[in-house]
Structures are given as structure tokens and as C-alpha cells.
């Protein structure tokens, strides 16, 4: 089984558009949406949810006002500034348990909390693992790990050889979780100075975790000088540029119709370029 992650560093560069198209172009893939707090892949793949799993993140401390003697020790010890007026603020509590074990009155309980849901679904392109983190919750990395585990399980059960992972933006905890044990990654970049800055940090992250990198330039015609500089940089670093996708209004039209653009308008400029990138990706992966 091969697992590959589509990432970008910068948000909104076209990760999900490209993952959705790759889902439609791949031979029997399993899909995993690892952007658990602002997930979008389901909006173009229309999964039918077959199983819902409760996701429990870190526990939450709760103070029983009946038992609390207002000694204030918990407020002194909490390093997350999560206790005010002898009550725990659930938004800031990181579930460390320090207050629970140190309360002299044993007034603080430590309770499980549901922080989201993981889903096992079916799409017309293959099984899909995805999730929804309750807005504002911590631990999206842990939920991403659950999505990854579910995807691997789906691949095993259905005898599929490829897991396509749609990654979250950034380089922090959920991104790291979406990269663990993958065979390769493709970074999607737009030819803007911000995009280039963020691409470099994303590529450094791949290097840090020793993951084979590749690049796709989206909306390459927005600034051809920047595109040339991305290509030059990638060539210098020995990173393959798998595709160059032009700006194309059909991408947004396809999104509105809830379809991957390669399905909505297969002959549009973006679709042709994405198909070419997919072919390049296939040989890059040795599929």
C-alpha cells in the first residue's frame, strides 16, 4: 500500500481541488481528508457516511462547587490560565490533570469529552475516511491520526493499494500527523511571494521527516516570473515539478456543482493540466 499526502503550507492553493481530481483519476484509491477543522473534500466527493465514530480528545477538568474550598491552588498551578473564579474554562483547559491531582479537597473531576467525529464513508471513487473536529477544540493532530488509521484499515479491507491524503494548511501538529509514514508528498503552490515563502517551509518540513517531495504549481499564469523562480528553485533542489495548472474559471464552477473539475469539464484547461500532473504523479510514485 502506498500513502501520499497533498499539502501546501499556505492555505487555499488548491489542495482539495487537486486531491478531488486525483481521487477521480486514480485506480481504486482510498481517500482521507486530514483537514479536520475546515474540511472540504466531502463537498466535491459527496461521501455517503456508513459509520460514525465518536472522537474523544483530552479530558476536561471540572470543579465541583460543593466541594471546592476556594483555596486557589488550582489557579496557581494551571499553566494554561484555564481556571478563573474557581471554575474551569473548557476552551482553555488542555486536559493536563495537574489541578485534578493537586486539589486538596478532591473537588476536581476529570471527564471524557467528545471533541468531534470520525466518519467511514463511501464515494463513487472509493472508500473515504474523514472527520469533523468540534469547532475550537484542541487535538486536531490526534483526530488526524485517527483518520489516517481508518483510511489504512479501509485500504486493507477493500484490497486497495493507494491512500490519497488531503492535508491541512500550515506546518504544525495536524500537518505533522498527516505526514507520518507516508511514501511521498506533493506540495501545491501558487506563484505568489507568500506562496513561495510557505512552500519553502513546507518543503523543509518534508525534509525534516525524510519524505520524498514533489510540487504542483497552481494558477501558474498568475505570475509567470514567480512560476519560473519556483521551477528554478525546484530544479536546484532536485524536486520534480509534476504539473503546471492554469487559472481556469471551471474550477470554481465545478466546486459549485459539487464535482471534481476533471469530471465536471474534462476538456477544460485546468482539467487537462491536472490529468497531466496525475500521470506525472503516477510515474513519480511508480504506480
Amino acid at each position: 500500500m502506498k500513502q501520499v499526502t497533498v499539502l501546501s503550507g499556505k492555505g487555499g492553493t488548491g489542495k482539495t481541488t487537486i486531491t478531488g481530481c486525483f481521487a477521480a483519476l486514480a485506480d481504486r484509491p482510498v481517500l482521507a481528508d486530514c483537514d479536520v477543522d475546515a474540511s472540504n473534500l466531502h463537498l466535491i466527493l459527496n461521501p455517503k457516511i456508513m459509520e460514525t465514530i465518536e472522537f474523544k480528545g483530552l479530558n476536561l477538568a471540572e470543579i465541583d462547587p460543593e466541594k471546592c474550598t476556594m483555596c486557589g491552588l488550582c489557579m496557581q498551578l494551571c499553566r494554561f490560565n484555564a481556571i478563573h473564579d474557581y471554575a474551569v474554562d473548557p476552551i482553555h483547559c488542555e486536559g493536563c490533570k495537574v489541578c485534578v491531582v493537586n486539589c486538596p479537597a478532591e473537588a476536581i473531576s476529570f471527564n471524557e469529552r467528545v471533541c468531534g467525529y470520525a466518519y467511514l464513508s463511501e464515494t463513487v471513487y472509493g472508500p473515504m475516511s474523514h472527520a469533523r473536529l468540534t469547532p475550537g477544540m484542541e487535538n486536531s493532530g490526534k483526530l488526524v491520526t485517527l483518520v489516517r488509521q481508518n483510511a489504512a484499515k479501509l485500504a486493507e479491507e477493500t484490497g486497495r493499494e493507494l491512500v490519497l491524503v488531503d492535508g491541512p494548511p500550515g506546518i504544525g501538529c495536524p500537518v505533522i500527523a498527516s505526514l507520518s509514514n507516508v511514501d511521498a508528498a506533493v506540495a501545491v503552490v501558487e506563484p505568489t511571494l507568500s506562496g513561495i515563502h510557505d512552500l519553502k517551509r513546507a518543503l523543509q518540513l518534508l525534509e525534516h521527516f525524510e519524505i520524498v517531495p514533489s510540487v504542483i504549481v497552481n494558477k501558474y499564469d498568475l505570475n509567470v516570473e514567480n512560476t519560473a523562480s519556483i521551477r528554478g528553485f525546484c530544479e536546484e533542489q532536485g524536486i520534480p515539478v509534476l504539473g503546471m495548472i492554469p487559472f481556469d474559471e471551471n474550477v470554481t464552477k465545478a466546486m459549485v456543482q459539487a464535482k471534481p473539475v476533471v469530471v465536471f469539464s474534462p476538456e477544460s484547461p485546468a482539467s487537462l493540466a491536472i490529468r497531466e500532473a496525475w500521470d506525472g504523479f503516477g510515474s513519480f510514485l511508480g504506480l
Binding site: G9, G12, C96, V98, I171, S194, H197, H208
Partner: protein, 277 residues
Amino acid sequence: MKIVVASGKGGTGKTSIAVNLALSVGAKQVMDCDVEEPNVHIFLKPENPRRKPVELLVPEIDEEKCTHCRRCAEFCQYNALFVVGETAMVFPELCHSCGGCKLVCPEGAITEKPRQIGTITVAESRGMGLVYGELNVGEALTVPVISAVKEQAEDDGLVILDAAPGAACPLVETVHGADFCLMVTEPTPFGLHDLQVATEVVRQLGVPLGVAVNFAGIGDRGVYRFCEREGMPVIMEIPYDRRIAELYSRGIPFTAEMTEWRGRFRELLETVEAMIA
């Protein structure tokens, strides 16, 4: 007054709006709270930058004193400590720095030492204060770097904070304590979905909000219908304009060349001030 510019979906124009708003109204400070991929400093060149490390206290175990009783490992909720046989190990990148292991160790074998996870840069740019944070590549915990950025905020004057995309803990940390949150979105199904989850977070925090629709003219009407239904005012619209996109690609705030927009941003601030008054 602290105004956060946020969005669920990435790439909707948060940084562009934060920077152009700040320049048009002459903000006191601009703070980039997207510490994973900060971009404000590409548009506002930092002058006189001072860099400061962001450190977390992580445990260090004195092997002489450690009896391998495992209390610390059993206590740690983040699996940052591991005791096997006669060896105790610390995984510092998993540590949230709660200090609990030190408190539960019966032998006094645990001390804490600082470990750098990122940097903040304090600078000036075009007469404004500029602060941005950078999480070290390979580090997972963004929240301590965001709070280090926010610690530099001035108490008075207009402070504009640029948030990271998403609707998880980085957004909570950035919006907490703000006076207003400007939610930037694009009028597409992706933009709508992520606006819904991000506004849920901002509402939980009790911070008043308004919506800015960027790339207006593309996509569909879903975002507008949602805003109307939820009673969330759309207080700015920026059309999809290739010129804006090209200036952005070169790292130029678009109000520098499209000066007619400066007045629009000043009106935006007046609208925000009226909303929170």
C-alpha cells in the same frame, strides 16, 4: 482596540485585508498570528527587527535520583514521558509544559529546562509596530508561539491581528480577548463551509463579528444567504480583480497602487467601531 482578521478557509485574503486595512487607517500595530506560515512581513518590510526565542519548559530527569517508579509517565496526558525498565525517557516535542511531572515525582528527580520551539520578531514598518511569530519547522505546538506574539500587543491604539486558517486551537488563541473579528471568506461552497465552522468558534468566544467577502462575483450566493439567515452583516466586498491578484503575487499591498480603496478600508473601520460601540 483589537481587531482579528480570520477565516476558516485558507487563501481567502486575510493577510491582504489585514495589511491594507492597517495601512489605510494607520494602525498602531499589526500582529501576524499565523505562526506556521506567517506572511505579513512579505507585505510590510520589517525595519529594525529584534528576534526573541519562544521557549517552553520541558522536564529533565536526574538519573541519579530517579527510581523508575513510573509516576510521571502514568501522569503525563501527552505521552511525553516513558519509563521502561531502568530507563526514563522524555519526548520533548510532545510536552505541553504543564509542569505536572515535576509535581508528581516523589524523588524530586525532575527539573525543568527551557526548550526553543519558535521565534517572535518585533519590528517597525511604515510607522506601525509589526510583530510576527515563527514556529520552528518540525514543531507541533503553535499556541505558545501565538501567545508570545500577543504578549507584545499594546494596550491602547488599534491593533490588527492576522489569524491562521482553520477553526481549531490557533483560532481560539488568536481571537481570545479581541474586540472584533472580521471573518474573511470567498463566495464558494468551500468558503461557506469553513465560514460556518469558524464563526461557531468566534461566537463561542463572545466576540462580535462581521463578514468580508473577497473575490466577490465568483462562485454562488450561499455565503450571502448564510450571513442573512444568521444575522451576520457583510461589511465589505472586494471583487475578483486580476490586478489585485497580481499585486498580491508580487508582495505589494493593493491599496499602494489602487489608492481609491484606502477610503473603503477607512469606512470599514468606522463600521466596525459603530458595531462595537
